[in-house]
Structure formats: structure tokens, C-alpha cells
């Protein structure tokens, strides 16, 4: 392994004064062999410290020259079965990170001295790992305390990437489905894993959100895990993702579901109801074949989440 500290001469040099360049030869099979890890700056007590972030594991030093060695050590300890993690689960309050590795179509979450949780779907692995961590007290009480947060790993910088949105099914009486969606490394597509395979949609000015939803819904229906394709909803979109999608939709006024007001949109294939989540600065969508279907789906979901919902729905 070769590790070097390289000065950043770009316009971002003030916040990222260096990069650690790691050349990892013959160690990993599905990632590149060269990584360029940004070195950030934090100011503490009037002093300056330099920081790196490798798959969520952060290290700091007063001397940037020490960071290549530290980064090399971190990468070495994270290589498992000749792979670097493609995701991590984060138990934020407990301060724990669980690397998740991908082999073919399966993802594996490893735990120190414990089980390996393996499934084709990240959501299942998250559920199994979450239950285990509840049992051993890392996550506290199930359902009322900390949850596992998922992040993708950028295999160029080894930094973490947030999902751009999620695909989620929560229908009373049916099995849940949840899958984080990430942007591909080249920025040309969005992808997720569902029904035992990677599902992808090319970036199309925002419509990729609905395109990927349709692809995954079809796969889940073929798998017998989804009865109605519109029960699968794009959830917690990043604001810029929503803005891009919004430009491709036709506004259709709004509807009230009890105290909630949902702006409505239509596209050639589906109607969309928007549920803003201001506390997270995210946007969730309800979809259906028409306005009434969107309203009914929203009402059912609000009821499931414990919100009082009026029996009569009023179009605004």
C-alpha cells in the first residue's frame, strides 16, 4: 500500500488543504485501487486540527503528515474478503458503525464477534442487524430509541453518501419494504437493490425517481411482495431531487387530508401527492392512478402512523 499527502491547489484548499492518496494494490477486487481522501480542517480551542473520514470512521491529527499512515491503517482494517464496504449502518447515539459489504447481489453486515447478517436486500439486513443490536443493548429498546441509519460509501473518496431518497412500502397487514436509493458514482443513474437484484434508472431530469419506483414495483410484484404498484412510494427525497422532479410534473392544486394539505401533481402515468417533511427538509410522495387514489393512500398512511384522520376527505 502506498500512501501520500498531496496539497490541494484548488479553490477549496481552505477547507480541504490536503488529500491523502492511497494506492491499494491487490487488496480489493471491486473498488478502484487508488483512493483520494479529503483532509478537512477543524478548529478547536484556538488550534487547528486535520481530519479524515474513511467509510465513516473519523480520525484527527495536529500534523497532516500523520494522516496517510492512519488512513492506510483504517483502510486495511476495513478490507474484508478483498472488499471495502459499499455501505455502512450507523448507530448514532451508540457511536457505532457497521460496515456492509456486497458480494454479487447479496449484502453482508458484519458485527465484531457476532453474527453476519446477509440478504439480497439492504432493508432486510438493516432489520436483522437492528433487532440484534436491540437485543444486545446497542440500540436500546426496539421501536422507541435509536435506529440504524444507512449511508453509501463513495469508492473514490471513501466518504459517506446519503441516500438521495428511499423506496418504501408500509401497508397494514402486508410485509414492509424499504430500500435506500443512491446515485451511481458517475452520476448518470440512480440505483437500489430490490427483489434479489440491482435496479437502476438513468437520470432523466428528475423523472428517474418515478422511473425507478416503477422498475422496483414491477420486480416486487413479480416477487409476490407488492399487490399494488402504487403502494411503493418514493420517500424522503432530497430537496434538490424534489425540485428537479417537480419541474417535470403538472400542478393540480392540493387536497386536504384532515389537517394535512397535500399539493397534487400529475404526470403522464401517475398522480403524485406531496408530503413535506420540514423537520428533515425532505419530501415524501404518495402516488396513485388519480387524485382520489392518492388521497386514500395518504389517509391510510396517516392512520397507520397514528394521526387522526377525518372520515371525509375534502378536495381543496
Amino acid at each position: 500500500m502506498k500512501a501520500a499527502l498531496v496539497r490541494n491547489s484548488s479553490e477549496y484548499a481552505e477547507t480541504i488543504p490536503y488529500y491523502v492518496e492511497l494506492e491499494v494494490l491487490t487488496r480489493t477486487v471491486d473498488a478502484g485501487s487508488v483512493f483520494r481522501i479529503p483532509v478537512g480542517v477543524v478548529y478547536q480551542g484556538g488550534g487547528k486540527r486535520f481530519t479524515i473520514d474513511v467509510c465513516g470512521f473519523q480520525r484527527q491529527s495536529d500534523k497532516p503528515a500523520e494522516l496517510p499512515k492512519i488512513a492506510g491503517y483504517l483502510v486495511n482494517s476495513l478490507v474484508h474478503l478483498a472488499r471495502l464496504p459499499s455501505y455502512v449502518f450507523i448507530a448514532r447515539r451508540a457511536g457505532e458503525i457497521y460496515p456492509v459489504y456486497t458480494i454479487d447481489n447479496e449484502v453482508f453486515a458484519t458485527t465484531p464477534g457476532g453474527p453476519i447478517f446477509k440478504h439480497v436486500e439492504l432493508a432486510k439486513v438493516r432489520e436483522y442487524l437492528g433487532d440484534y443490536l436491540n437485543t444486545i443493548g446497542i440500540l436500546g429498546e426496539n421501536g422507541v430509541s435509536d435506529r440504524l441509519h444507512v449511508r453509501g460509501v463513495n469508492l473514490q473518496t471513501l466518504g459517506l453518501r446519503r441516500p438521495v431518497f428511499y423506496l418504501k412500502k408500509r401497508v397494514v397487514g402486508q410485509t414492509d419494504f424499504w430500500a435506500p436509493v443512491f446515485e451511481a458514482g458517475d452520476g448518470q443513474s440512480v440505483y437500489t437493490y430490490a427483489a434479489s437484484a440491482r435496479r437502476e434508472a438513468p437520470v432523466a431530469g428528475g423523472q428517474e425517481v418515478l422511473a425507478l419506483q416503477a422498475v422496483v414495483a414491477e420486480a416486487l410484484m413479480a416477487d409476490g411482495r407488492l399487490a399494488d404498484p402504487h403502494d411503493l412510494r418514493p420517500d424522503r427525497l432530497f430537496p434538490d431531487y424534489w425540485k428537479r422532479l417537480e419541474t417535470t410534473l403538472t400542478p393540480q392544486g392540493s387536497t386536504a387530508v384532515n389537517r394535512f394539505t397535500l399539493p397534487l401533481y400529475s404526470s403522464p402515468d401517475v398522480w403524485v401527492g406531496l408530503e413535506p417533511r420540514p423537520e428533515e427538509e425532505r419530501y415524501s410522495l404518495f402516488i396513485g392512478e388519480d387524485a382520489q387514489a392518492v388521497v386514500e393512500r395518504a389517509a391510510a398512511d396517516f392512520a397507520r402512523r397514528g394521526y387522526a384522520v377525518a372520515s371525509e376527505l375534502v378536495m381543496a
Partner: protein, 468 residues
């Protein structure tokens, strides 16, 4: 002044030693001239040496079990498993000497239980009877082998003291009593039951005791998900596990060929051949069946496949043809693969090393297989008698006895051991606390570490950098 001459003193020492050896050998030669060695004495001595070799090989299997079980378990529990394999042998030795051997081979009371020879009271150290002593040693090794099967199934969560209690009861009572029914000349022997070296007597007893123990004990933390699916909890060293399998395979030559109890038996090499053929066939079939089922050739499955074949052939090694041995082995591989599924996915029992499928189910299969594959010509060669299985024109009679014997003995082990573990559970407790289970039994039970020079991974200590 005295001067020490090293060379001179060495010469004196060598001359003295030579004279001494000469005197010893001449007196020995004179004694031999006085007492002619009879053919019977030579035969006894050959049999004794043969059984010694067998006993040593079976003893060596204890090391094999230790390696397999520790290899298939996590590193934080390795020392605990080594201790269990050591201590069940030691406790077993004392208890089998005091009680077990008498219950198994003492004078029979109604064909159900031995009643004499406790503490080897019928053996006279002054008598020139080396065979009786080595016979005890050989049988002791089998008792220990049966007991140690359970340690793998209860690995990583059973309290050490509970395991010691179990070892005492197993080697003192459970194994010897059912063993008496056949090898002690009891009721199964009289029915014509055949279990040459112990597919049922040793392995199914251990396997079904393991099933009862693992069932009462419950699964390891994290083994099963809420939806009933199971997770892999990988062992720490397939290298150790593979070494253990090779040791066991080697030991099995003593287990099976040694069970002729005589080096003069013309079938000893034949039995070694059937033993190896079955093991090779079972390894191959376990690999292939699992490959077909799971899509990859599993190392763990192949290793357990070897043991499954060895267990299965143990009952019929002296009764079946080489072809029969291969068929028994091939089926044993399938029994293993689907047996593991049955135990884990249907019964939801956590058996970290696969002891129940390897020893319990294949012990039963191998014993029943004698009723199918026993060939009269082989029985004549090995001294087992002219026994014919169903496929050799013997009808269903032998098959029926085989089924009866193996079911009754398996049930005996399961029920008695289930009761024992349940009683221990509600009295002294059998399971370590969740905290102890997580930190590993090496430190919580033995205050040691099998691999002290391996530090924790850097990834254990982290700072979260990314908010939501």
C-alpha cells in the same frame, strides 16, 4: 590433587552400563528358556496391542473433536471448547471407571442394566490378564467420544459447570445403560440388533443428547431473526476445523477396525476400507448436494460431510460390501445437508457445529442401513455372522430390528438428556448471561483468551462524522 578426567569417566560409565544390560538380558533369556510362550499368549498379546492402538486412535479423536468444535466457533469461545473436550474426557474417565463400565458390561439384570464390576472390582491387578485392562481403556474412549459430541451443539452459551454435570451423568449413566442393551449383551443384542462400532450406541446417543441440550438451552444471541430466518455466525478457523476432521478420520480407523477387539480378526483391513469409502462418498455427496442447493461448494459442508459418512458407516463397517459402504456414504451426505436444514430452519434449534445432523441423524441412518445393505459374505469375513439385509434377500426382519433399536436408543438419549438439562435449567441454570455470551466464554468462564496477541480491530473505536 584429584584431577577430573572426563574421557576416563565416560569409559567407565559405558563399561558399567554394558555389563548391566548384559546381566538383564541373560537373566531374561534364562527365564524364557524356563517358560515357553504359548500361542494363546501371543494371540492375547497381539489382541492387546491391537486394542491399544485402537484405544490410542480413539483417544486422538478427542483432539479432533476439540479442533472441529473450536474451529467452528468464534475465537472468543475457543478455550471454553477446548476445556469442555478435555474435561468431559477426564470426568468421563473417573465416572466410567466408577459406575459406567459396570452398568454397561457388568452382569446383566434382565438385559437392561449391568450390575457388577463397579470400580473395576472384578479386575485383579495381580492377574496376568492384560486384555481386560485394555478392553476397559478402549471402551472408556467410546464413552468419552459419545459425551464430547454434545459440546459442539451447546457451544458459545452453556455454563461450564453445567457441562461438567452433564458429562458426569452422560458417562456414568446415560451412555452405559443404552450401551448395555446391545454391547453389554442386553435385550437389543438378543434381538439381533447390529451396531458394529456404535453409529447409534455412541453417535446417535451423543447426537440426540445434543439435540435435547441445544433445544432446552436455546439459540445463541443473533442466530435467529424475528421472521424465523437464521444468520450465519462464522467460526474463527476453518483451518482448525479441517485439521480436526482429518484427525477424526484417522481416529476412526481405530474406532471401527479396533472394534473387532482382536488383531487376529481377518476383517480389520476390510473394515478400514469400508470406513474410508463411506467417508469419501459422503464428503462428495454433501459437497454436491449443497452445491446444487446453495450454488457453491461449501468447505464447511464438505468437512461435516466427511464426519457424516464416518458416523453412518460405523454401524455396518463389518457387514456391508464396498459398494454398500459407498451408497451409505452418499446417502449420508444428503441426510447431513437436509438434516442441517431440518434442525435449523424447521426445528429452530441452534447447533453451531452441526452435531445433531452429523451424529444424531446419520447415526440413525447408518444403523438402519445395516438392515438394508448387510451382506452375508462380509459378516463371515469379519466374524459378525451371516447376516442378510433387505437388499441381500434377508427380508424386513433385520431392518425392523435396526429401526427399533436406533429409535429406542435415540429416544432414550433425547428424553433423559432433555430432562437433565431442564432440571439443571430450573435449578442451577445452564446458560451464561447475555453479557457473558457477548464477551465470550473464554474470559467470562475461564478468565483467559485463546488468542491474546490479537487486538481489537481499529474499527471498534469510532467517531461518527455524518449526521442525518
Amino acid at each position: 590433587m584429584f584431577k577430573f578426567d572426563k574421557k576416563r569417566w565416560i569409559r567407565v560409565l559405558l563399561v558399567g552400563m554394558s555389563m548391566g544390560l548384559l546381566m538383564v538380558f541373560s537373566s531374561s533369556a534364562m527365564a524364557q528358556e524356563e517358560t515357553a510362550v504359548t500361542t494363546d499368549q501371543i494371540v492375547i498379546q497381539i489382541d492387546t496391542i491391537w486394542l491399544f492402538i485402537g484405544a490410542f486412535l480413539v483417544f486422538w479423536m478427542q483432539a479432533g473433536f476439540a479442533m472441529v468444535e473450536s474451529g467452528f466457533s468464534r475465537s472468543k469461545n475457543a478455550a471454553n471448547l477446548l476445556m469442555k473436550n478435555l474435561m468431559d474426557f477426564c470426568m468421563g474417565t473417573l465416572l466410567f471407571f466408577a459406575i459406567g463400565f459396570g452398568l454397561m458390561y457388568g452382569t446383566s439384570a434382565g438385559g437392561f442394566i449391568g450390575t457388577t464390576n463397579f470400580f473395576l472390582s472384578e479386575l485383579d491387578p495381580g492377574a496376568i490378564d492384560p486384555y481386560s485392562w485394555v478392553d476397559f481403556l478402549f471402551q472408556l474412549m467410546f464413552a468419552a467420544a459419545s459425551a464430547t459430541i454434545v459440546s459442539g451443539a451447546v457451544a458459545e452459551r452453556l455454563k461450564f459447570k453445567s457441562y461438567l454435570v452433564y458429562s458426569v451423568v452422560m458417562t456414568a449413566f446415560i451412555y452405559p445403560i443404552s450401551g448395555h442393551w446391545h454391547w453389554g449383551g442386553g435385550w437389543l443384542f438378543n434381538l439381533g440388533f447390529i451396531d458394529f462400532a456404535g453409529s447409534t450406541i455412541v453417535h446417535a446417543v451423543g447426537g440426540f443428547a445434543a439435540l435435547a441440550a441445544a433445544w432446552v438451552l436455546g439459540p445463541r444471541i443473533g442466530k435467529f431473526n424475528k421472521d424465523g430466518s437464521s444468520n450465519v455466525i462464522p467460526g474463527h478457523s476453518l483451518t482448525l476445523a479441517a485439521l480436526g476432521v482429518f484427525i477424526l478420520w484417522m481416529g476412526w480407523f481405530g474406532f471401527n477396525s479396533g472394534s473387532t477387539l482382536s488383531g487376529m480378526n481377518p476383517g480389520i483391513a476390510y473394515i478400514a476400507v469400508t470406513t474410508t469409502l463411506a467417508a469419501a462418498a459422503s464428503t462428495t455427496s454433501a459437497l454436491l448436494v449443497n452445491w446444487f442447493k446453495a450454488g457453491h461448494p461449501s468447505t464447511e459442508m464438505a468437512l461435516n460431510g466427511s464426519l457424516a459418512g464416518l458416523v453412518a458407516i460405523t454401524a455396518g463397517a463389518a457387514n456391508v460390501t464396498p459398494t454398500g459402504a459407498i451408497l451409505i456414504g452418499f446417502i449420508a451426505g444428503g441426510v447431513l445437508v437436509y438434516g442441517l436444514d431440518l434442525i435449523e430452519r424447521v426445528l429452530k434449534v441452534d447447533d453451531p457445529v452441526g452435531a445433531v445432523a452429523v451424529h444424531g441423524l446419520n447415526g440413525m441412518w447408518g444403523t438402519i442401513a445395516v438392515g438394508l445393505f448387510a451382506a452375508p459374505s462380509v459378516g463371515l469375513l469379519t466374524g459378525m455372522g451371516e447376516i442378510s439385509g433387505l437388499l441381500y434377500g434377508g427380508g424386513f426382519a433385520q431392518l425392523g430390528v435396526q429401526v427399533l433399536g436406533t429409535v429406542v436408543i435415540a429416544a432414550w438419549a433425547f428424553v433423559t438428556m432433555g430432562a437433565l438439562f431442564y432440571i439443571m435449567k430450573v435449578t442451577m441454570g445452564i446458560r451464561v448471561s447475555p453479557k457473558e455470551e457477548l464477551e465470550g466464554l473464554d474470559i467470562s468462564e475461564h478468565f483467559t483468551s485463546s488468542y491474546p496477541e490479537f487486538g481489537p480491530a481499529a474499527a471498534d473505536v469510532v467517531t461518527i462524522t455524518s449526521g442525518d
